[in-house]
């Protein structure tokens, strides 16, 4: 059983390989792509717990990736990595709803910790959503039963009076 599904998008081949190697070893199922457009298609096709995206990429950059992920309603946590951090880019991606921000070069422990936290957060969210849905369904059932019981009681009372 995998620890979680992760999609990695970085135009740097070595970075894709590194993240795949280290996270696969930790038990995650990892998919990589060097193209942002392909990443968006993959993310719409199947659910990922976490999408790790580079910030500076040709064609679609990390900020646009986060924006489109949210716009398409893709239910994944987004983690942004960058080789050139700036206050503006941190503000932009976090403001758009990215979960966290990691700068290159990073320490493996830092990466593992952030990924673990993000995946757990997403899985908790998913579980939470499922529980709420279950609860709502049970509420509906309960409401139906309550209404039926009230109707039955009404009938009984009417019968008794008659």
């Amino acid at each position: 059983m995998s620890e979680g599904n992760i999609l990695i998008v970085d135009d740097e081949e070595t970075m894709c390989n590194l993240l795949k190697d280290i996270l696969a070893e930790k038990g995650y199922e990892v998919t990589t792509t060097q193209k942002a457009r392909e990443a968006l298609e993959l993310a719409q096709d199947r659910p990922f717990d976490l999408i790790i995206t580079d910030l500076k990429m040709p064609e679609i950059d990390g900020i646009e990736m986060v924006r489109q992920i949210k716009e398409f309603g893709i239910d994944s946590i987004v983690l942004v990595i960058t080789a050139y951090p700036s206050v503006e880019s941190v503000r932009d991606v976090l403001g758009l709803g990215a979960y966290d921000y990691i700068t290159k070069p990073f320490n493996l422990e830092e990466m593992f910790f952030t990924v673990k936290r993000a995946v757990e957060f997403h899985q908790l969210n998913v579980t939470n959503k499922k529980l709420i849905e279950k609860l709502e369904k049970q509420n509906i059932l309960l409401e139906g039963k309550k209404r039926k019981a009230e109707k039955d009681i009404g009938k009984d009372e009417g019968g008794n009076r008659g």
Partner: protein, 281 residues
């Protein structure tokens, strides 16, 4: 009577000689002063070139940080991954082979860092005026390696078109690299929303080669076209604009016995063309 006339003539001759000697002495002094002034001017120009180069390196900050931090990310990550693997008790031959592959990644990425640092050092070194026989395509490639990351970050597509028959020229690599860097950075600044920069080099005639930098940027207004090579002329806003980039480029190309011209229409991009004489000089 004759003796008096001779004496007067001799005296006149002596005075004239003295005046000539004084004049010669003055002229030697003037020549020395001119030489000193010329020397000072050259020194000041070198300092200007150097300071403009440092400003250009500063403007490359984002690109250089990005260019170095990416391979460093791979190096640090794989080094830590190897260390973690080696600390495992059951480290086996298969792990050993995998680590070998990771070391290859580290080597490849370290080579990338080495190249970018080497190019920066070549570019930043103090100018010497030595001319050598150079392949202009190589100089453009070295310069491009420095700015390519910066240009890509700004969503600028770069294409190069080098004719195979370009002859070598006599020039100063460092100075020409600075000219190309200025033109590349200018093109980048003219295309804030991205665009295309086409660099081509070809044989213009038997005596000269041409190098063109064509961008799809904002272009140059007609009234400014004639002033772009003037010292301290700039239309760029902000502290980074010194207005010296193109005038220094003009000076450098002139010293190389070449020409640099600009063609542009506002809103329709710009083409900077450099011609340089061929031959080993």
């Amino acid at each position: 009577m004759k003796a008096t006339a001779e004496r007067e003539l001799e005296e006149k001759l002596r005075k004239t000689r003295l005046a000539l000697m004084n004049m010669l002495e003055d002229m030697t002094g003037d020549k020395k002063a001119i030489e000193n002034a010329y020397h000072e001017l050259k020194e000041t120009q070198d300092k200007l070139v150097q300071s403009e180069k440092m400003a250009a390196v500063g403007q490359l900050g984002a690109g250089v940080a990005h260019e170095l931090n990416n391979p460093l990310g791979g190096i640090l990550g794989y080094a830590q991954f190897i260390l973690a693997k080696m600390q495992k008790e059951n480290f086996n031959i298969s792990d050993f082979k995998i680590c070998g592959q990771y070391l290859k990644y580290i080597e490849k990425e370290a080579q990338r860092c080495k190249t970018i640092v080497r190019n920066l050092l070549i570019f930043s070194r103090k100018p010497d005026r030595a001319y050598e026989t150079i392949d202009i395509k190589e100089v453009i490639d070295y310069t491009l390696a420095l700015v390519i990351s910066q240009l890509k970050l700004k969503k600028i597509k770069i294409t190069t078109d080098f004719a195979p028959d370009i002859e070598k020229i006599s020039g100063n690599i460092n100075q020409l690299q600075q000219v190309f860097m200025n033109l590349m950075i200018n093109a980048q600044q003219a295309m804030p929303g991205g665009g295309e920069l086409k660099i081509s080099a070809y044989k213009k005639s038997d005596q000269e080669i041409a190098i063109e930098f064509a961008d799809t940027g904002c272009g140059i207004a007609k009234e400014n076209l004639g002033r772009v090579f003037d010292a301290f002329f700039t239309t760029k806003q902000g502290l980074k604009a010194t207005g010296l980039g193109l005038s220094i480029s003009y000076q450098i190309i002139k010293e190389h016995k070449g020409t640099i011209t600009a063609q542009s229409e506002e809103g329709r991009g710009a083409v900077f063309m450099i011609t340089l004489p061929v031959g080993s000089g």
